[in-house]
């Protein structure tokens, strides 16, 4: 785990589903505030507030392009996305480990098949 960003701020930033979805959107490339606001039923200022939190947590960065301020993922943001995928795998694997046990019990109790 990298120590070059504030972990607590990162986790607080990631605790919100809208902010996680914004990061996931940025995983497919740079985007402006308008583009980021589009899939959510939210005002631009509300999205800007989320972007500010993500930025302060070191998860995204912005650059200046005329009047636009496109955002992209920072290294910490990329790491965070990898971490979600790892957690998603873990949650699924937990389900399937339980399913392994259910299947083993079905095998040893063939009468259960008749239910």
């Amino acid at each position: 785990m990298s120590a070059d960003f504030d972990l607590n701020a990162s986790f607080a930033a990631l605790a919100d589903p809208t902010r996680r979805a914004i990061l996931a959107r940025l995983a497919s490339g740079e985007a402006t505030v308008n583009e980021l606001a589009e899939p959510f039923d939210m005002t631009q200022p509300a999205i800007s507030q989320h972007l500010k939190v993500l930025e302060e947590a070191g998860l995204i960065v912005q650059r200046v392009d005329g009047t636009k301020r496109p955002r992209r993922l920072a290294k910490a943001g990329i790491d965070a996305i990898d971490q979600w995928l790892a957690m998603l795998r873990k949650a699924l694997e937990k389900n399937y480990e339980r399913l392994d046990e259910v299947l083993a019990a079905m095998e040893s109790n063939p009468k259960g098949r008749k239910r």
Binding site: W84, L92, K94, L99, L103
Partner: protein
Amino acid sequence: MNTMTRLTLKTEGDTHIVVTRHFAALPEAVYRAHTDTKLLQKWLLGPDGWTMPVCINDPRPGGKIRFEWKNDKGGGFHLTGEYLELEPYSRIVHVERMHLPDPTPDNHVETRFQPDGSGTLMTMRMTLPDAQTRAAMLATGMEGGMEASYARLETLL
């Protein structure tokens, strides 16, 4: 951990998510564990600490699905859906949406069970309406697991 490597999770194209997993049981048993209400309640729970007190599950074309999960900290959410096609013991097609509490866009899920050695290879192929929905889904939770994981992670910090 060795068991982790048995699961694969990958994106495909712009709108698909494909999960595969091998099981040491025949396709008939794995199919039944995916369609039998009492069996589903035993394993489709996400991280530790979550239960599924409500499992409405009518495995026939057009049949309704409603799964409600709760954790020991008062958290909870539910999923609704409908079965579209069932081919015992090889294939299930259904649609589902999470309610967080607003419904997420429909996730179209095709689950296949193929003989694999002495066991079964399960391939679950999800299709989301568009790339943004898929991104949001990967970020906000699939089968409830992610959201639950996050709730859990936060309590650890």
